[in-house]
Symmetry: D2
Subunit: 366 residues, 4 copies
């Protein structure tokens, strides 16, 4: 394994380059008996697809998913599910510049250092297009979670310095505006910011927040596989993510303990509550059974039209101006990727949760 | 594996509870031929030991490390290294309260939910004492890194709202003040803050920054095992960590791409430089060969003397006042834990770096 | 992972059913810089292809391999290599009987028990056709081994009770006769046996022997990953294999130690020799640097035309007569599968061999 | 991981050298709630202990097990169980010869080749004493299996050329004679053989057979983790094992398919039966729910008193006569090791069996 396989019991192996023949994922460990169709997966892929807003590249990726194995008579068989997306839009590119020059913010330089050479066509394996395979696998994971009553909702919390106002939080708005922001007013201001950046041939970043509801308590393992730790790995592994925090996150470092600790109470109907949720739903690395909240910080898109200083492979100082049509912001399209990585991670640790207690094991096996 | 084993080629398996017989770690995958003594490990453990400052518990943990296997005639043999720390300070405790009541901010509730019951003595496996085994393993990892010219330096960046002034950064100061802050003035102000919190029977959190120097380019794997992703997992797995960021981190989400992208230049002596380091030394998940910088946010210590609302196992609303002597801040003692987790992670991916190119493999094997 | 992923550093994930859309394999961990073409892989697949002898099914599987990713400008890039074989010969079958009746010797019953239902078309995932993906991955592994001077040669040692005479061992004969036997005379007698079994609507098994040459000493890990142990797993995982032995194998259990121990000697040119090779080239689970020899026992083909007693899904005792054209022997076609599984395993442990010594690690990295 | 860690969900990490401070094992993944005491483990260790028969070394290993973690109030807590055996019998040895000369049949030469040097005291990590840690972990695995109704029974099938007569199979006899043979008459003849070998300063090997009863159907994964494949790995990883076979094993290679296929029948009470068990209880790598039978071939003990030719580290041809008291046969003491490795493997795949079907997962989690 060199980084393209993840998961212990629910495992995925992804492959493919941006401008190669296609990309895909093999899922090994999907239990038998789950209804699964190409539509179930296409739905999530469509949320990631570019060309749907003025801020995403008008490049056309058809991204039509095909199930190659592991499903029989509409249900998963328990054996590997192979999913494929062919790259259809292979018009001839001119790679002469990009093949020799290291674009700032991109992995061109580090791939050359690591491997001795690289597939420079459209970023090759380091392209954001790689996340399409994650979304496809995530859609399968979500089908499993649905059977277990778990719901994941990610959305844009901020773009540049425009943040949503939580008092105006509107769940439906996430799917209504181009920016996946649950606050219409903030979305309008963020659009204005993006138009300015676009004019300046520049780009913007933002923060995605993710909410997990319905997850039972007891998910996550002590020490190295704390639920927040494995979520951190999953989320920071998304290309442009530079930060991760759960619950109060970095702000917690400034709070006194008396404020940050979440107090427990039973209500009149004897249901357990926490008076606050600074922990974000995880203590000691294990889910509490209350909603989980975490955030991911995305850097601004690296591909910008503005002229930049850089070097080429031959050791010269040069300048580069990246051609083509690129998203001034990738955050709205990344929302579904955050959901996918969360779903893939949760399934694995939900499975493991069963194995932590002999009574649950017996219940399943006898 | 249920969370106490980590690492692929350099693997560690930790065990032990706070108030049990002891704790330890088995390292499988330490190459043969490295000089290793108990002193090498003890040195790091001593940096974690409590009772060394007015802000760490006067509890006495002797934490004397013993090497049980894997070292012969002063050198590692390539077979598992077993390290043990006996718990010597086992005076009789009164666990009657703690066994029944869920302490806010602690894992008491989630462990009971996950496992059906728990070793409540001193937090059992969820105690911060668990990190001693990580520090021991980290000391071995550091020996390997030293042979490869890699240096890790972690320090306290902030405590509560007191942050260091980077213009006053003084490396030696890290080892001089109680708080591991590389800025004497900030340390004085942070001490004042801590005294106030202590008087108020309250606690504080903070941020640890970590600097990696000398790491070659090409370390880290694409997609799911990006170097920042695996560091995120390693760091967020430390008990009180609630956030992780690399390079500009969350701040990057507000920057324009033209500012956040690091431009490359060759200097007069034809050495490659980056004009900035917003990426924190990692692009596309792979080390650039430039210094790596990341930060971890620690929540305030959960154990406080102030009275708190909570519930007990039997379903009653109660109040708790945690007795005993607890650190009002754990950040300074966590600095060495951050270094340890970083070292353990780097060794694994440095090893893997060899396997990414056929020319390096041939060089080693022929 | 549910069994279709193997390997730690050189990992493969296979997928696909016998009569589904196709099958394939994703290789994660192939080092960058190795020349690789579809022809390299096709060559090995052609050795497995049916329809080449009177004893293999005239069923036509075109088995044309396609490389979908991980190769750029004729060389491996270090990122996942996705290989696909489309199932082209999808003429309409009548599955009405096979879908309800459990064929003796097949996995029909156990798949239904495990998963609740099964893809019954041609055996689904449990079909021998699954090994095509192994052969494809094995061809890639062999390219790596070639660069390191390692050579694997498997051949048929016996069919039914017809065994080769080692004094007539002829390497070239392996590729000359239908049965891959390195002894022409034995091959003729085995053919006669097979004709008789075929007439009787019956089938035969046999033993494959495998020779590894050029493998350096020091490959294999102590305790659970002894080289013979991981080879055993790899080989017994091939569908019809019922036994594995290395060196003298089961015969060693009857020998006195004084006979079974291999004595060491330096010859006149100061080269180290063993006077015998009862160990089969592995001691303590680690390769000696001398040729490695192991054997795999294959059961007779389960699909026979003769009438057999069995049961159906509804709980009735029935009789079955399996239609279609089936190999009376699969051993000759399995020879290349044994080579493939050996190659895949060796690459992983050759890589790991580097990581067992600090001097080799330093040599590679500095 | 360099070979001393095994298992996915039920994982064990072993450590320790023959003449070091001790040896032990860390178990990560034992579910919470299982009653476990040191006696449970000691019982199995006592079956492995030397000095109990005229054919095992009178060397005294007290092998008193100590539980260091993971058990609280008599039950497993779900966190790592650390088990330790101190080496108490550390009388001064003379290692001058063994440190320089490579003993035939031992791993002295391969360890030096792999690691550059070795802990030569009593074989270091390659000593058979390493299996004590496996037996300890196996005892814990058996406790889990017991809760699930699974029973493992291993015994000596043959010693040298003396094999039991199956018509005289007597289960109780296994625990009655020194050789763990379920046939008293065979045991007497085997004893005679061993006396002769001992007088000749020579040694003997044998075959251990293992019977698994009560294992439900559906255990084992398709393709690379077939139940027989993972058992093969587990069993061949035991030091002296040179061969593994399941069901009819190597004999199956000679049988016609019509004979080797096991036919199914419902009996009058509508219970499913197989008319034969040539498959050994596993088809397609998945347990049938019928008894599983496999065999392991052990080579004769490598340590013999007779003079042998060999070489030393400096490149000289020499002769060696191994001093000390060694077992002329290790097979009877290996019987419990076979049981242990089987138990450890079964637990892991029984756990995984739950995760193969959505209905079982739901049953456990809701």
């Amino acid at each position: 394994m060199s980084g393209s396989i993840m998961g212990k019991n629910f495992s995925i192996a992804t492959w493919g380059e941006s401008h190669g023949k296609g990309l895909g994922v093999v899922i090994d460990g999907c239990p038998a008996g789950i209804p699964l169709s190409e539509e179930d997966i296409q739905k999530d892929l469509d949320r990631r697809r570019p060309g749907q807003s003025p801020f995403s590249t008008p490049r056309k990726e058809s991204d039509k998913i095909e199930i190659l194995s592991g499903v029989f008579e509409g249900r998963t068989t328990g054996t590997p599910i192979s999913l494929i997306l062919y790259n259809t839009n292979q018009r001839p590119y001119d790679y002469s510049e990009i093949s020799k020059i290291y674009r700032p913010g991109h992995a061109d330089y580090t791939y050359d250092q690591k491997y001795g050479f690289r597939d420079y066509r459209g970023g090759g394996r380091s392209s954001g297009r790689e996340t399409a395979a994650r979304v496809a696998a995530g859609a399968v994971a979500k089908k499993i979670l649905k059977e277990l009553g778990v719901q994941i909702t990610a959305y844009t919390l901020s773009i540049g310095d425009v943040e949503i106002d939580r008092s105006r939080f509107d769940h439906d708005e996430i799917y209504r505006n181009f920016l996946a922001m649950p606050d219409k007013e903030a979305a309008v201001r963020a659009e204005a910011l993006l138009h300015k950046r676009k004019e300046a041939e520049d780009s913007a970043g933002g923060v995605v927040e993710c909410l997990i509801e319905g997850l039972p308590s007891g998910v996550g393992e002590p020490v190295f596989e704390k639920l927040d730790a494995v979520l951190a790995r999953a989320i920071v592994s998304i290309g442009a993510v530079k930060g991760f925090e759960v619950g109060s996150g970095f702000a917690a470092s400034k709070m006194p303990g008396s404020y940050n600790n979440d107090e427990f109470r039973y209500d009149e109907e004897d249901r357990l509550h926490k008076l606050t949720n600074h922990a974000g739903g995880i203590t000691g690395g294990i889910s509490e059974g209350f909603p989980i909240v975490f955030r991911a910080a995305f850097k601004p898109t690296s591909s910008i039209h503005a002229k930049q200083k850089t070097v080429d492979k031959e050791g010269n100082n040069v300048e580069i101006q990246i051609e083509g049509r690129h998203d001034p912001i990738i955050v709205p399209r990344a929302v579904i990727v955050v959901e996918a990585m969360t779903a893939i991670t949760l399934v694995d640790y939900l499975f493991q949760r069963i194995l932590s207690r002999m009574d649950l094991i017996k219940k399943a096996l006898t």
